[in-house]
């Protein structure tokens, strides 16, 4: 949550209060990488026995990772193949945005196809969710 908040705040504030000095780039990149690794730790620590929840968390995390340097590298790789001599290839930024939209749609689709917690359908499917009174 912190990474999009930080980058969004910087981008929105830049036209008003000015931009960061060039020397701040490596610090910003290091901060982004640290937050991405923290996101990876969250994924690894999350319980994976409920597949639908894990898939939705993963999709939300992919959108989180794509904001910033990961998305820029991905765009540079893909669009750079189409325009080899450009400093920034036309179209850069579109791919990551489309993947983010896809992540949102994916979360909604998984939610639509997942039975509500506590419903008889889910209880029949997922034995771990049952309350054990014998």
């Amino acid at each position: 949550m912190l990474k999009p908040l930080l980058l969004g705040g910087l981008v929105l504030a830049a036209p008003v209060v000015g931009v960061l000095p060039r020397g701040a780039s490596p610090v910003l990149l290091a901060g982004e990488i640290t937050l991405d690794i923290a996101g990876l730790a969250v994924m690894l620590a999350a319980p994976s026995h409920r597949l639908a929840d894990y898939q939705r968390l993963l999709l939300a995390m992919v959108a989180f990772w794509l904001v910033g340097w990961v998305g820029q590298v991905l765009d540079a790789l893909v669009f750079g193949l189409l325009t080899l001599d450009a400093e920034v290839a036309p179209g850069s930024g579109l791919l990551t945005a489309v993947i983010m939209i896809g992540c949102g749609v994916g979360i909604a689709l998984i939610t639509a196809h997942t039975p509500e917690r506590g419903s008889p359908t889910l209880a029949a499917r997922d034995p771990l969710e049952r309350t054990g009174h014998r």
Binding site: R22, A46, G93, A97, C103, G104
Partner: protein, 94 residues
């Protein structure tokens, strides 16, 4: 509408998708002049790094519309995370 256990996930999904939509709009605003021809003078100018709107470090000359759209898009993505965390914290532990 009654709140179900899927509601926070739908909220997160809507915010992530809307954030992506705004980011796509920001990219579209930047690259609009390249739709006709990639050799167009405006398109060539937009290929400079100074028009990058995601990392506001010098030299930076992003179009105000791209900065606004991308900034709000990233805020929306961030706004989706409390819903994700609420769902994740309610998972039963194995």
């Amino acid at each position: 509408m009654a709140k179900t256990s899927g509601t926070p996930w739908y909220t997160a999904a809507a915010l992530v998708a809307l954030g992506g939509l705004l980011m796509a709009a920001a990219a579209a605003v930047r690259w609009l002049p390249c739709l006709g021809s990639r050799t167009d003078q405006t398109c060539v100018a937009r290929q400079s790094r100074v028009y990058d709107y995601l990392v506001p470090t010098e030299p930076w000359q992003a179009l105000p519309a791209t900065a606004l759209l991308a900034g709000v898009g990233m805020f929306l993505l961030a706004a989706g995370w409390p819903s994700v965390r609420r769902c994740a914290s309610s998972w039963p532990r194995s």
